[in-house]
């Protein structure tokens, strides 16, 4: 049995780290980081085989944050998991820091793919998955793609590729938080419906509440059981999840909280303002 209460506490710590790091940096992307917290927590604290003491262990599962601007959630999760000290989070986006504005596989322990230019991460994940299969290796590849990101044509080039070559060792979380920089996705450039698109491209499609650990685990188990096609887990999420004044507000896509707002946000998270699932 998984201890979801413990994971919920971990997720709260990761949320706090995201907010502290971005406020300390004075910039960054809290909104889309907060929407992916349960997904990354479930991956790094349960689903994925990783070794924080040996970040480049060949047998590890790989993770690609295709929506690279959500770097704060990746760094906060890696720090929480013990890949590096949480103190390092305070150097986010500073000159000389290993924690770049967008993920850099050559600078940060635990980062498997450099991303930031949207649409490329999923293709990169396809290459990793194909490489694992060529060598008969059992490690799996997980990727998180944004819903706004799926306006990039390259996402659908990669979707075609993964299905064509039956990359069943690839699992994608499509973070359906509904917002992009300029506003609601359906108003900026409607990428929906997501499930019908992925189905038409030949993927195994699952739709879940992306903040419910039980649903995340159940979907990941189903993805592992599917051996003939890649799986996409469309995760309904809330942008800015866990911070009352950030939730569902596009303006918090790429803006850090002020010091005063941070105090309010941290207090809200401490009070258990996050549902974190059933």
């Amino acid at each position: 049995m998984r201890d979801t209460r413990k994971l919920q506490q971990t997720a709260r710590e990761i949320r706090k780290s995201i907010l502290i790091a971005t406020t300390e940096a004075g910039s960054g992307h809290p909104g889309g980081s907060l929407s992916s917290v349960e997904i990354l927590t479930a991956l790094y604290f349960d689903i994925m085989r990783v070794d924080p003491d040996n970040p480049r262990w060949d047998g590890r599962d790989r993770f690609v944050l295709s929506k690279g601007h959500a770097a704060p959630v990746l760094y906060a999760t890696l720090a929480e998991r013990g890949f590096f000290s949480k103190d390092l989070l305070l150097t986010l986006r500073r000159l000389g820091s290993p924690l770049q504005g967008h993920p850099d596989m050559n600078r940060t322990p635990g980062v498997d793919a450099s991303t930031g230019s949207l649409g490329q991460g999923l293709s990169f994940a396809c290459g990793l998955a194909l490489g694992a299969r060529l060598d008969g290796k059992g490690w799996r590849v997980y990727a998180v793609v944004g819903d706004g990101e799926s306006e990039e044509g390259q996402i659908w080039e990669a979707a075609m590729f993964a299905a064509h070559y039956g990359l069943s060792n690839l699992t994608v979380f499509h973070d359906w938080n509904g917002l992009q920089i300029d506003g609601p996705c359906e108003l900026v450039m409607n990428p929906y419906p997501l499930d019908a698109k992925w189905s038409a491209f030949g993927w195994n499609v699952l739709v879940i509440d992306g903040h419910d650990f039980g649903q995340v685990f159940e979907a990941a188990d189903k993805a592992r059981a599917c051996t003939d096609k890649p799986t996409v887990i469309i995760a309904r999420t809330v942008k800015g999840k866990g911070v009352s004044f950030m939730e569902n507000q596009a303006q918090w896509h790429g803006k850090a909280a002020s010091k005063e707002q941070l105090v309010e946000a941290l207090a809200g998270i401490e009070k258990g303002g996050v549902s974190g699932g059933a």
């Binding site: 230019s117 293709s123 990169f124």
Partner: protein
């Protein structure tokens, strides 16, 4: 006569036999890029991504991150223009072991015209950190350059051509990565040439010697890292220089040589290449002549530049 792309296809098959980690990707042009030869020999290690060059480059990066030596092929303009950001972010920035072997570069694509004639690709790849840029002059050099790229980890851009071109080098020739080769010593003017234009430069030098102008020829097959030492030494010896390339005079060999000479030993210089215009349809030989990329064009440039000494 043999096309550099033909040598590429043959060498890939040899590499596939020697190294099980060599994987080849193509974007629906495998008959033209000659990667089909590898695909037939090693179907388990050949992947067609379809007409999707962005995906081609990022998948190549992922495969390299999984430990593979990846050759990714398509036409030069699609590899470098259409997928520039993917080459930059998914490959070059990460220093991943991807060899972009692009065919159908330059005007000699011929009848397909401007959309398919890459005249900017050297500039686009040369500007990227971590990228090594190689432009073989003939099939012998192409085969050896492909081998050199496979042997050295990291991103490469290998510029290959469509038409059969004269064999300049015999089997005894040894390509050395990063080394420009003096093919003909001169004292009056030196012609720095790359790719298909090396043969043209040699022809031009022959004509100039007949006129009493001592013209040297240097094959600059590695554009990056540039062999500044050899280039400066030749400029010192001759006191005047011409560059010739099947590429825009902006950003390619001409620019690279101008940068090196201006910083080290400025001499009068004329750049022969496509003069900031797009190409058009025509037969390869007709196009080269029309755009001044013929022996006559190089001879005229040499006469002009020696007057400025």
């Amino acid at each position: 006569m043999k096309a550099t792309r033909q040598a590429y296809g043959e060498t890939l098959v040899e590499l596939g036999r020697e190294n099980p980690d060599v994987v080849v990707l193509d974007a629906d042009l495998s008959a033209s890029t000659m990667t089909r030869m590898f695909g037939k020999a090693f179907p388990d290690r050949f992947f067609n991504v379809g007409i999707a060059e962005q995906n081609l480059m990022s998948v190549a990066g992922g495969l390299a991150a999984a430990g593979k030596t990846v050759f990714a092929s398509t036409f030069a303009i699609f590899a470098t223009g259409r997928a520039f950001d993917q080459v930059r972010v998914s490959i070059a920035h990460n220093r991943l072991d991807v060899k972009i072997a692009a065919t159908h570069s330059g005007l000699t694509v011929g009848e397909d015209g401007a959309s398919h004639q890459a005249l900017e690709d050297i500039a686009l790849m040369r500007v990227l950190p971590n990228m090594t840029v190689v432009v073989p002059a003939d099939a012998t050099e192409a085969a050896q350059a492909v081998r050199a790229a496979a042997a050295q980890p990291g991103p490469f851009y290998i510029r290959l051509g469509r038409p059969p071109v004269p064999m300049l080098f015999g089997p005894e020739y040894r390509f050395v990565l990063g080394r420009a080769t003096v093919l003909r010593q001169g004292t009056g003017v030196v012609v720095f040439a790359t790719g298909h234009m090396v043969a043209v430069a040699l022809e031009a030098a022959g004509i100039l010697w007949g006129e009493g102008i001592s013209a040297g020829v240097v094959n600059v097959s590695t554009i990056k890292p540039l062999d500044v030492e050899t280039i400066v030494a030749a400029a010192k010896r001759c006191g005047a220089a011409v560059t010739v390339e099947e590429h825009s005079i902006i950003g390619g060999l001409g620019s690279a040589v101008a940068e090196a000479l201006c910083e080290n030993f400025p001499v009068p210089l004329v750049r022969v290449g496509v003069r900031d215009v797009f190409g058009e349809s025509g037969k390869p030989a007709e196009l080269l002549k029309a755009y001044g990329l013929s022996a006559d064009g190089v001879v005229n440039a040499c006469r002009e530049v020696t007057k400025r000494k």
